[in-house]
């Protein structure tokens, strides 16, 4: 390849992301910022993980690097060349596999070669070889619907690798698989990578699973949400294969949690709980879940304080499920998160030890006090002569800050909390919020 001389030069990155911003148009004038000022480089021979909560824009970044989405500002360079569209040499594996159900395994794998105009016999030969390599032997004539999830994703890998890519991008490639299948596939992928059976020079993947990132990657880039930006970066120097029971590995995971939960102390921010405004993106958490988490915290053996990785392990939650819960607990002043630990507060203790009816009262007080949106809805309903209001009013209010989809998601979350707290009632068919329950 012509690029070879370049790639052997020291410090010449495979991929370089320079000042990338991405915002989506929303309404006539407003724009919603999804990615803010992203800069990073990926070098020869690296596996890099982009780790972040869902909705942090990490998948959008991956698509910008792939050339599927255009950045609003900034540039992505692939081996020094700016990326304007899908580039030959970069291949991708998708979260939901993206296989064509009407094509056999072989035909699916051949698809990319067909598009490149590879001649029929060579196409078949290369496809069969890729199927061999990825361990799909014997399934050439099967249709995707006959295969299990793990096997389907193997087809996805074979299809991505058959075009001899330079770089492999993966969008949450294991998140649709069960744990055992995912582990199996991960170790096979690592094996392929280490034995250099493919022509790959780098792998970049997006995940919300901390262990997965720590297990595969040489470098983890941790993402912030709202708008997506790089919070920090960690090098993982443990040799492969890594053992998730190993204490050094557990330490790495602890470091990631600490990085993800330590608030960057902004100018003069008061030590303590975070204060949110009306348009804050409330986490998607329900009351039963936070109660369960508080109960676990309050259990005698934990004594009100736990290590976040332990919480994730005990309750079998991944960070996409865990962080919304801890965020809501913080907002409501029921618990406090810092440096990878979570501690229950006095109010949290009181809440969890109360009877069912008293819990509702405490929850209602905290909701009114600390969640401005809930307070606003309650005030509006109290002021209205018939104590009613259309949900559209609140959605359009939220749309000043958020996308339409996000606005209605947040409203329905608050409605759920408000219903639990008996702060207000909601009629789904009419889309009307009211103070009283309907008779």
């Amino acid at each position: 390849m012509q690029d070879l001389d370049q790639s052997t030069m020291p410090n010449s990155p495979l991929i370089e992301v320079v000042n990338v911003h991405k915002s989506f148009k929303k309404g006539d004038r407003q724009e919603l910022l999804v990615l803010e000022d992203i800069n990073f480089r990926m070098y020869e021979g690296e596996i890099v993980a982009i780790l972040g909560k869902s909705g942090s824009g990490k998948s959008t970044l991956l698509r910008i690097i792939a050339g599927l989405v255009q950045p609003s500002a900034g540039t992505v360079f692939y081996r020094g060349q700016p990326v304007f569209g899908p580039v030959r040499g970069i291949s991708m594996v998708f979260q939901t596999f993206a296989l064509l159900p009407w094509l056999t395994v072989l035909q699916n794998v051949e698809l990319g070669l067909e598009a490149l105009g590879v001649e029929r016999n060579e196409r078949r030969e290369r496809a069969l070889k890729a199927i061999d390599t990825i361990g799909l032997d014997g399934f050439e004539t099967a249709f995707p619907k006959e295969l299990s999830g793990g096997m389907r994703q193997r087809v996805g890998f074979a299809r991505a690798l058959v075009v001899n890519p330079d770089i492999l991008l993966m969008d949450e490639p294991f998140s649709a698989l069960d744990v055992l299948t995912a582990d199996n596939l991960k170790s096979d992928l690592l094996n392929l990578w280490q034995t250099k059976k493919t022509g790959l020079h780098g792998i970049l993947f997006v995940t919300h699973n901390i262990e997965e990132a720590a297990l595969l990657a040489d470098r983890i880039i941790v993402f912030n949400s709202n708008p997506g930006s790089i919070r920090g970066e960690l090098k993982v120097t443990l040799p492969h294969p890594r053992n998730d029971m190993d204490t050094r590995f557990r330490n790495q995971i602890d470091r990631v949690y600490t990085l993800m939960t330590t608030q960057p102390l902004a100018e003069g921010a008061t030590e303590g709980h975070q204060v949110i405004d009306l348009g804050y993106r409330l986490p998607e958490a329900n009351v039963a879940e936070i109660t369960g988490l508080l109960e676990t915290l309050n259990a005698p053996e934990n004594n009100g304080k736990m290590d976040l990785p332990d919480v994730a392990d005990t309750l079998m939650l991944d960070i996409d499920e865990l962080f919304p819960l801890t965020e809501l607990l913080e907002i409501l002043h029921f618990a406090k998160v810092s440096k990878g630990d979570i501690t229950i507060t006095e109010a949290g203790k009181e809440f969890v030890e109360a009877t069912i009816l008293d819990r509702k009262k405490i929850f209602s007080q905290h909701l009114k006090k600390y969640v401005p949106l809930a307070r606003y809805i309650y005030d509006q309903l109290t002021r209205h002569p018939r104590h009613r209001a259309l949900e559209e009013n609140f959605i359009s209010l939220l749309e000043d800050y958020l996308t339409e989809k996000e606005a209605s998601r947040i409203l329905s979350t608050v409605i759920e909390w408000g219903r639990y707290a008996e702060l207000f009632a909601y009629d789904y068919n009419a889309g009307v919020l009211s103070l009283e329950n309907p008779n």
Partner: protein, 580 residues
């Protein structure tokens, strides 16, 4: 038949010499092709307006006539498909085109189909002077209009619903737009497209019968075909001929179903995207099985696949690497959109001026009022019909739907009956009305829904057969009484299906009103008070101004009812009563 799929030959190469299944299949295929070709040569014979084309009531001529009719259907279907692929794709891929095409088609859907015939036939005749091709084209165009719209809308919607990851994968692996269309868009929409084609065909049979007898400036052109045969039979009050025609139509639709749609539907099973293998409800077709068993035709199939591959992968339609910034072209884009917008404004302005000058100036307001009242009369008929039909068919449909053995038998029959052109049966009703001295305004009404009611039946059956077993058991367990059970469980769960069926039935009834409100037998004619009758009479007179008025009124009324009644109901059914 393996167009879109290569069979992977794992060592056992397909043998190229024929077995005896080949003989049967080959004969069938060759037979069909030769027949169609022979009929096609008959279409382009010289013809002058006013010249009478001899139609014979001899039953031996019927197979020939039936073939002509079938060929018209096939040609129209091909055009509909071409139209669908072009405009459906265009609307799905371009926002600018979408904003025009989709509302346009939405409105075209509510234009009474026979209205297209009255308006376009003169144009077609002058397009091919001195040839029968003119009237043939007009007839084919009418069938096209009865088929194309729902196919385009369905195709557009499925393309829009292709999972974004599939599209991204296509881009990532450098498929060109052409390759993507054949590899993703078409296969993905295949099951829906076929279903829409079958619905279109059902509508098509109704109108093919009506469109073969065309009135132009007080003259009737009878194109050789079943429709003309029936028209002549009615004119000469020949009861036997009517019987023969009904029988022929019956056989034709059966053959069409077995030779064309069954195989296609069975073949399209593999394009269904559900990722689970379902054992029940898989469509089977003896034709497909026959073709699978033949060696030679399978060999032919792989060759066709090879050719199809070459077609999809044509070199000059391959994707090229992107080297420039896609936003560079923005000034050019702005120029195009400016041009586009000004073109639209000019067009709209022109149409307004034209309509004002032609229609509003020359038609007195009293006529408009009169036509509006006629429209309301027809609307009332449609409304009453749907209610009566629902009262009869919903309980029957639910009863059938809950017994799967019965449903399996009834479902194809109902679909078949929906395809059967009910207008063939109109003379029978005429005789009943005359014999028993019935009120025309009332007893003509059932004719309108004769064909369309089956949509209600098979949708309700489908809905009732998927009511979850556990819900029915809960109802039993709680000891719900008959009425409570219907109100709380059965009616809500069949509601979305019922609405779909009712919307189709209403559309059919409006369209049928043009034929149903004027029934004739020999020299006698029964005319009901309604918009359909008005359009028919104006068409016979050749009064284009009043034809346009009648059609515009019907189009308007259908649109209003759709927006005010049916669309909200449809939304409601999707919001609240979808079982998930």
């Amino acid at each position: 038949m393996n167009f879109l799929r290569t069979t992977f030959m794992n060592g056992n190469k397909v043998k190229a010499y024929p077995n005896y299944w080949d003989m049967i299949a080959l004969l069938l295929v060759l037979g069909v092709i030769t027949l169609l070709a022979w009929v096609a040569t008959q279409m382009a014979v010289p013809y002058e307006l006013g010249q009478a084309i001899p139609i014979s009531l001899d039953p031996h001529r019927l197979p020939g006539y039936a073939l002509r009719t079938v060929l018209r259907m096939l040609i129209a279907l091909c055009f509909s498909l071409l139209f669908t692929f072009t405009f459906g794709t265009w609307a799905a891929k371009s926002r600018r085109a979408e904003r025009i095409i989709i509302p346009f088609i939405d409105i075209l859907q509510s234009v009474p189909i026979l209205g297209f015939l009255s308006i376009t036939v003169v144009g077609f005749i002058s397009l091919f002077p001195g040839s029968l091709l003119g009237p043939e084209c007009a007839a084919i165009f009418v069938i096209f209009t009865s088929q194309a719209w729902n196919m385009v809308l369905g195709f557009y919607q499925t393309i829009r619903s292709i999972p974004s990851e599939l599209n991204e994968a296509a881009k990532m692996f450098h498929l060109s737009a052409w390759q993507r269309f054949w590899r993703i868009d078409v296969p993905f929409s295949m099951p829906g497209l076929l279903w829409n084609m079958m619905m279109s065909m059902s509508a098509g049979w109704f109108f093919v019968v009506a469109s073969e007898a065309i009135s132009v400036s007080n003259q009737q052109i009878l194109l050789p075909g079943i429709g003309s045969y029936i028209t002549l039979a009615i004119a000469t009050t020949n009861m036997h001929a009517i019987g023969y025609a009904i029988l022929t139509m019956f056989i034709v639709i059966l053959v069409y179903d077995q030779l064309l749609f069954r195989p296609l539907v069975a073949w399209a099973e593999k394009f269904k995207t559900e990722q689970v293998v379902e054992e029940t409800n898989e469509a089977h077709s003896w034709v497909i099985n026959l073709l699978h068993r033949t060696q030679f035709l399978r060999y032919l199939g792989t060759q066709l696949t090879y050719i199809f591959d070459l077609f999809v992968n044509i070199t000059f339609l391959r994707s090229k690497p992107v080297h420039s910034h896609p936003l560079r072209a923005s000034s050019y884009v702005r120029y195009i959109s400016w041009l586009w917008n000004s073109l639209l404004i000019c067009l709209v302005g022109g149409v307004v001026v034209f309509l004002y000058n032609i229609i509003f100036r020359s038609i007195p307001i009293a006529t408009v009022e009169h036509v509006f009242l006629l429209g309301l009369a027809t609307a009332l008929r449609v409304f009453v019909l749907v209610i009566v039909c629902s009262l009869i068919w919903v309980p029957v449909g639910v009863w059938i739907g809950q017994r799967s053995s019965v449903a399996h038998i009834v479902q194809p029959i109902a679909q078949f009956l929906a395809a059967f052109p009910a207008n063939i049966l109109y003379p029978l009703v005429f005789i009943l009305i005359v014999t028993y001295h019935l009120n025309v305004n009332i007893w003509v009404t059932p004719l309108m829904i004769l064909g369309a009611q089956w949509y209600i039946v098979f949708n309700v059956v489908a809905g009732a057969s998927v009511i979850p077993k556990d819900l029915l058991q809960v109802a039993d367990n709680l000891g719900l009484g008959f009425w409570l059970r219907w109100r709380r469980l059965i009616l809500p769960s069949i509601f979305p299906y019922y609405i779909t069926g009712a919307i189709t039935a209403v559309g059919g009834a409006w369209n049928a009103s043009i034929l149903a409100e004027v029934v004739s037998w020999g020299g006698h004619k029964l005319v009901a008070y309604g918009l359909g009758a008005y359009i028919t009479e104006q068409t016979a007179k050749g009064d284009f101004l009043h034809i346009s008025l009648g059609i515009a009124m019907m189009c308007l009324l259908v649109l209003i009812f759709n927006r005010l009644v049916w669309r909200p109901l449809y939304e409601l059914s999707r919001e609240r009563f979808t079982l998930d």
